[in-house]
Amino acid sequence: MSTPTERTTGSTEVKHPDGKGIGLWLKLALVLLGIVLLALLPQVLSRYYIILMMPFFAYSIALLGLNLLFGYTGLISFGHALFIGVGAYSAAFLMRDGGLEYMEPLILLSLLGAVIVAVPVGLLAVRYIGIYFGLLTLAFGMLFYSFLLKFYSITSGDQGIRVEKPILLGFIDTTGIDYLTGPFYYYCLGLLVVMALVMWRIVKSPFGLTLRCVRDNSVKAESLGIGVYRYRFYAFLISAIYGGVAGVILAVSVGQVDPTMSYWTSSGNLVFMTLLGGFTSFFGPIVGAGAFILLQDQVMSLWEYWRLVFGAILALIVIFAPSGLMGLLTMGWKKVVR
């Protein structure tokens, strides 16, 4: 058995995200098209599908963060739902006990909550990689889950806490309009675009390059004078912040927070979405979140045993298409172009 800290990820057949696929302009056009489509959806789709799509924004934001860790830094977290839980519960507490009504301070304070939790967790976890990192993050996630479940007087246990609809940008509240499918939808879309832009800057910066270097050869990175733990810690912190913001959105979209948000299977599903969309691509996780939600809805309406179907899909992806939907699409595109 090799040592837990020095084991390299060593996957040769899977290409990691390098931004080299289709051309930049085409990519930009596709992204703009995606945003326009998302913006038009409330005009086209029924209210049911809009409500169904609400968690999409939350998961997309969380997965952008998770993939900085998984795709770019090579660390697999099986406890990332912890930060969604922290963000969601922070928002719920702030509204229930703090009387806070405005969305922006909610996001900022919940984000701060995620950072406060992520610092000690990250300091411990980044000393490990591979399976040990996964297990340690799983342990922290479950620690938080059991706190939520058992400390009934603070958290209301498995009943969860109802979440009100906060005021957006200081003036949009719920009076007279369909809050969730109207202003809140566009608010989330805007937030997703901003957070994606920030993440794009991060992964294209020297910092992002350094993370990839740490992922591919941590020994060499160390000998080049890169503080490997420090960079992994930063990546962990950023991904936690994304998780926290996602938690707030999820809490408001669902109108309710409950402990299963941070159960280990929720973390597993997050990794599942990332892989489904394709962790080797920047936009893969977003595609994965959308595909997961739509697929789940379809399969559930046909057959109650949706987990059986999803398990089979996940197994097929892991075995045959580890670069996910985006990987398949890029492959298909290359064939068409040639």
Partner: protein, 293 residues
């Protein structure tokens, strides 16, 4: 005194069950280097199948006191799923750990629903069967004889695995394969068959654990995913891949659980994970980490 003995015995009982499941996890990890999240689902399968088989056998007129063996047989019979799942895992033996973990997560999702499809969400139990052996009075504490049987069975299995690994030719091959698979293969060992055997053995250990727990409780739809996190705590505390670690870890988790349930139930899981984190921080590879199988 009665209270102390009572806590000692119920801690030992949970440790016995946990050890069986964790041993399945360790054996597979030790040899195949795959952390199998699905052991919890095997455990649940063992519980459901054990309850069904025993209830059926008793209904057919088999003498009730034989039900303990019925449970063991149920666990062993489920070994047939071992080769099937091992076949599914085969393509990813040389892949990144993240993918191995994810594939076993896919198996968890599938097995959860397969169990639901077969048995539904109604709790299953074997009723008052476990009282056919009566109870004994140990220094003022009333202990069901069945619990002693389970503890004895787990102890026997633990000794059996220990002897198998240390004293037999097969055990030596296993330990060698755990260290250097290619070397063992080039020496003429059929490692493909070895993996099938090891994985099936791991399945059987977990399913026996599940089958044996059922008389004292009832099956629940979430029992598998809940147990995996406890089994996970056991192996992390004990050290991944080490059998001795599984034993010590099971005792630690078993007693921590029992003590907190007796004195302050809300902190049960919290304490387990605190122990896990403390152990990982102080001894990253667990108390017995680095030993092979």
């Amino acid at each position: 005194m009665g209270d102390v003995v009572s806590i000692l015995m119920s801690g030992l009982f949970s440790a016995a069950i946990l050890f069986l499941v964790a041993a399945g996890l360790q054996l597979v990890f030790g040899v195949m280097k795959i952390f199998n999240l699905a052991v919890g689902s095997f455990y649940a399968l063992g519980a459901f199948f054990g309850a069904t088989l025993v209830n059926w056998a008793v209904g057919e007129g088999l003498p009730q006191p034989l039900f303990f063996f019925g449970l063991l047989i149920a666990g062993i019979l489920l070994g047939v799923i071992g080769p099937v799942i091992e076949r599914l895992l085969r393509p990813i033996y040389d892949r990144d750990e993240a993918f191995q973990l994810l594939l076993t997560f896919a198996i968890v999702l599938m097995l959860e629903d397969i169990t639901m499809m077969i048995w539904g969400s109604q709790p299953r139990s074997t009723g008052s069967l476990y009282l056919v052996y009566g109870t004994v009075n140990l220094l003022g504490a009333t202990v069901p004889v069945y619990n002693l049987f389970v503890i004895a069975a787990a102890g026997t299995i633990a000794v059996g695995i220990g002897l198998l690994l240390s004293r037999t030719a097969f055990g030596r091959v296993l330990r060698a394969a755990a260290d250097k698979r290619e070397m063992v293969q080039s020496l003429g060992v059929n490692t493909r068959r070895l993996y099938v055997i090891v994985f099936s053995l791991g399945v059987v250990l977990s399913t026996i654990g599940g089958a044996l727990v059922i008389p004292v409780t009832a099956t629940m739809s979430e029992m598998g995913v809940e147990l995996i996190v406890e089994a996970f705590a056991v192996v992390v505390i004990g050290g991944l891949g080490s059998m001795r670690g599984a034993l010590v870890g099971a005792l630690v988790v078993g007693y921590v659980t029992t003590l907190s349930i007796n004195y302050y139930p809300p902190i049960e899981m919290l304490v387990i994970y605190l122990v896990v984190i403390v152990v990982l921080v102080i001894k990253p590879r667990g108390l017995f980490g680095g030993e092979t199988a």
